[in-house]
Amino acid sequence: MLKVELLDVAIGRVGILRGISLEVGTGRFTGLVGRNGAGKTTLLRAIMGILRAQKGQVHFDDKPLESMPVHARARLGIGYMPEDRRLVPNLSVQDNVLIPAWASGLQDPKRRLEKIYAMIPEVEQFSGRKAMQLSGGQQKLVALARALMSGTQLLLLDEPFEGVAPVLARRLAEVIGGLKQEGLSVLITESDLSHSEEVLDSLYVIDRGEVSPRPL
Amino acid sequence: MKRDTTLLIYLPLLVLLLAAGPLLPKWAGFLVNVSLCFGTVVLGMLILMRTGLVSFGQGLYYCLGAYAAGTLDHFFKLSDVPLMILCGTLLSGLVAFGLGFLLARYRDIFFAMLSMAFSMILNGLLVKTSELGSTDGFNVSVHSFAGIALAEQSVRYVTYSTTVTLTVLVGVGVHLYLRSHLGRMAEAVRDNELRLEYMGTSVKRLIHINYVLAAALAGMGGAMMAVTVGHIDPEMAYWTTSGEFVFIAILSGTGSTLAPFLGSTVFETVRSFAYEYSPNTWQMTLGITMLLVILFLPGGLWSMFNRQSGTA
């Protein structure tokens, strides 16, 4: 599904990632664990194309992504959930979730929306509220729902459990675990394994800009 | 440390320009003179730009300086070259000292816009003041130099050499200033205000100081322009005049105190010739020149001479 090979990423002249290789198999849940500043967010942003790689390749379904603009990558079916949620504060929750569908001209957004609501009923409950009226944890749920709208193939979830109260974190883990049945491929980052361990099929550890596989 | 070659350029430049004065054809001498006046205003902008601020209202001080000089002649018959320039410089510096308390709080586009508003207010005031000639402004004449009466035919060379000498002096002065601790701090403001505050320094005060310096130089340029051209009008405070200063500043680059003079000379030359040969497309020529510089010489014209680094 996703294959990253020998990726080098620098921000400005500052090298953040060095020689990253990693693979997310179809229908597999892959974890990327490392502490703050290790380079997790940078790696996901590079996969999405927000950051340019200096070296190396990213393939999605055997298609090279290097020369593809960000929005085109999203339209391949990659859903990205940023760590800081980044909802549009003055749009309603439902509008936030629907933006990817509108942007890519999805045929039947209502059906996909209903499916997402079925997976995360909470989001439907506050679908009429403005995003800025939600708590941080609720926003995480909405960000996940939004990522699911474009992420019909692959989900990139950046620290989905970070800064969330334990109850909500468990709920998020449950929702994410439920995605297994959808046949989705998922890459999850976390600073430890406290929430994602049960759902993972494979694991990588990232430390100071370098990634290595780790048995579970 | 790299050797400081800039100072070594200023002295021969002074001698060369002074010596060339009587030899240059009238138009060329005038062009050099006007370029130096513009260059002085832009030199002030360079100081401001070192702190990261760009004013779209430098015309305010340029115009104030010119009117201070003009008023001395017009109302008090004190048409003495150094006195007029001194008054223009001081008045602008003084007004900037007052407004600086306010403007030092502003950054980016809001700094640019507020300075523009002030200069447009001056423009509006002058246009409505019939005592100062309203839209037409008035003529400025020069009769003495430091108390010594001037003969009619020597006025032009006296203003020319005064401009040249003063310009070189402020060029050297600003050069030394930028190399001083205070000047380095100005650059630090542009790079990282937060860090400076965390070193125990008041960024606002630094900006205020540089704002006053820039204004004083603009006033000086305006006063020199008034005695050079012999006519002033409210257009000097209109936004397009300020726009031209920003234009020259970006065209020049901020790499050296010599850059504004290079930039203004190129600007004046392009403008004069374009105006001469194609009066309907001279603005277009300037616009295209500017776009080419922004696209291909992002560091301004000066970066052609100073490819390796941006030291002052």
């Binding site: 502490r35 941080g136 100071r208 | 380095r184 701090m185 630090a188 990282n192 505050e197 125990g200």
Partner: protein, 263 residues
């Protein structure tokens, strides 16, 4: 925690900080004695940087007060706090990006030399001081490179060196080794601590790397959800069950304490 007064070098009394509905600091009471080296640990958003921001005047507590040498500094702004002798470094290095490393350091050295009461220096003396600092931090080799283009570890060092150039009474280091390669992390800390050894400067540092905390801190404060949940010597705090659960996390990998936890 003990509520003594007057005897601490730096003290926070009942400090709270709210951002809208979010509580970033809740009832922080802590006293720091002079010459101590204190590690601040806690997961992201636990309130460590907020604490540093409040001490240095970048943020104002919603309630409570902060005292330095018995003097209330709660309402001071960063410039004033710095002038009292409290300096800090930053998680993301705050450098003068277009200047070289040498020029960067020259700014605080120049400021220091112009303090009232400080000894004035000639240009040559200033440059010599700068050169000495560069030498001490092993930055001589890249002294004339533009700081924005230096590697992250070097930038981090330069950032800390600039904070130290003010000869602080208290030095606050915000994640001094984040974004730095594994080989460099002890190197950086050794240089910093070595340079401070003579003056026995009081240090507070925020750190995620428990190896660093264990090796350099004489006291550890563990933050969780805006509160300090443990305070004491490194051995005690790092083995505290609450700290292990909330701060370090039982499943941490790639850190010294993760030992055999991936079972």
């Amino acid at each position: 925690m003990a509520q003594q007064t007057g005897e601490f070098f730096l003290e926070a009394r009942g400090v709270n900080k709210k951002f809208g509905a979010v509580t970033a600091a809740s009832d922080i009471n802590v006293g720091i004695t002079q010459h101590s080296v204190v590690g601040l640990i806690g997961s992201n958003g636990a309130g460590k940087t907020t604490f540093i921001n409040m001490v240095t005047g970048y943020l104002k507590p919603s309630s409570g007060s902060i005292l330095f040498q018995g003097r209330d500094i709660t309402s001071l702004i960063p410039r004033q706090v710095t002038n009292l002798g409290i300096c800090r470094s930053f998680q993301i290095p705050q450098l003068f990006g277009t200047m070289t490393a040498r020029q960067n350091l020259r700014i605080p050295v120049g400021i220091g030399a112009r303090h009232p009461g400080a000894q004035r220096m000639t240009d040559a003396q200033e440059m010599a001081t700068v050169a000495a600092v560069l030498e001490r931090f092993g930055l001589t080799g890249c002294a004339d490179q533009v700081s924005a283009q230096l590697p992250e570890g070097t930038r981090k060092l330069l950032d800390i060196a600039m904070a130290m150039a003010g000869n602080p009474e208290i030095l606050l280091l915000d994640e001094p080794t984040s974004g730095v390669s594994a080989e460099e992390k002890f190197l950086i800390m050794d240089m910093v601590m070595g340079a401070l050894a003579a003056s026995r400067t009081t240090v507070l540092f925020v750190e995620h790397d428990m190896e660093i905390v264990e090796r350099y801190a004489s006291r550890v404060l563990a933050f969780y959800d805006g509160r300090i949940i443990a305070d004491g010597n490194p051995q005690t705090v790092l083995t505290d069950p609450e700290v292990r659960r909330y701060v370090i996390g039982e499943h941490v990998l790639g850190q010294g304490h993760a030992g055999g936890s991936h079972a």
